[in-house]
Symmetry: C2
Subunit: 103 residues, 2 copies
């Protein structure tokens, strides 16, 4: 059930096509943090933040990092950071993606 490139691209674009998710990536780019702190900072309910983060993580746009410097003595918390992704899109790239496999 290997997914084609076009489907994958559409999923990635959908994940990015949302102001909350973009602001999440921006915030985590400034400083990695965990879901709860991010939710509070952004004025979102935790379940909503969790849902958006889940979507971003699923597509590999953010990842869990193991912070060497534990912020406090408090233990279980997943710290998120943006993945080092780069998306470049122009008409030729789109044509290539749509035509994949036919090669």
């Amino acid at each position: 059930m290997s997914e084609d490139e076009l489907t994958k691209l559409v999923k990635t674009l959908k994940a990015l096509a949302n102001p909350i998710r973009l602001r999440m990536i921006a915030s985590l780019a400034e400083e990695p943090k965990h879901a709860y702190a991010l939710a509070k900072e952004m004025g979102l309910s935790y379940p909503l933040a969790h849902l958006h983060l889940k979507g971003l993580r699923k597509l590999g746009l953010i990842e869990e990092i193991t912070p060497e410097t534990k912020t406090e003595g408090r233990p279980p918390s997943k710290t998120y950071s943006p993945s080092d992704f780069e998306l470049v899109l122009n008409p030729s790239k789109i044509l290539e993606t749509v035509k994949e496999g036919i090669v």
Copy 2:
């Protein structure tokens, strides 16, 4: 009512986050054509094709071109071609976009 960069980016990403619209751009990149021909080629109803094209045109992702070589003697028809856009997106760019205006 000038729209901020983040809103504009989200709109562009939404416009691109759809398989039909991506295939449209790909098809027009291979060869510019008008809406009716594109709809037939892609197996879409004309109203649906028109709707998607309208969205792409509104965001400047495709444009009407005036073809020097009229395909046939048939006159009124808008020929579409992808605009020469390039979207580059990575965590830093997203951070910049989210932070616009604060500069």
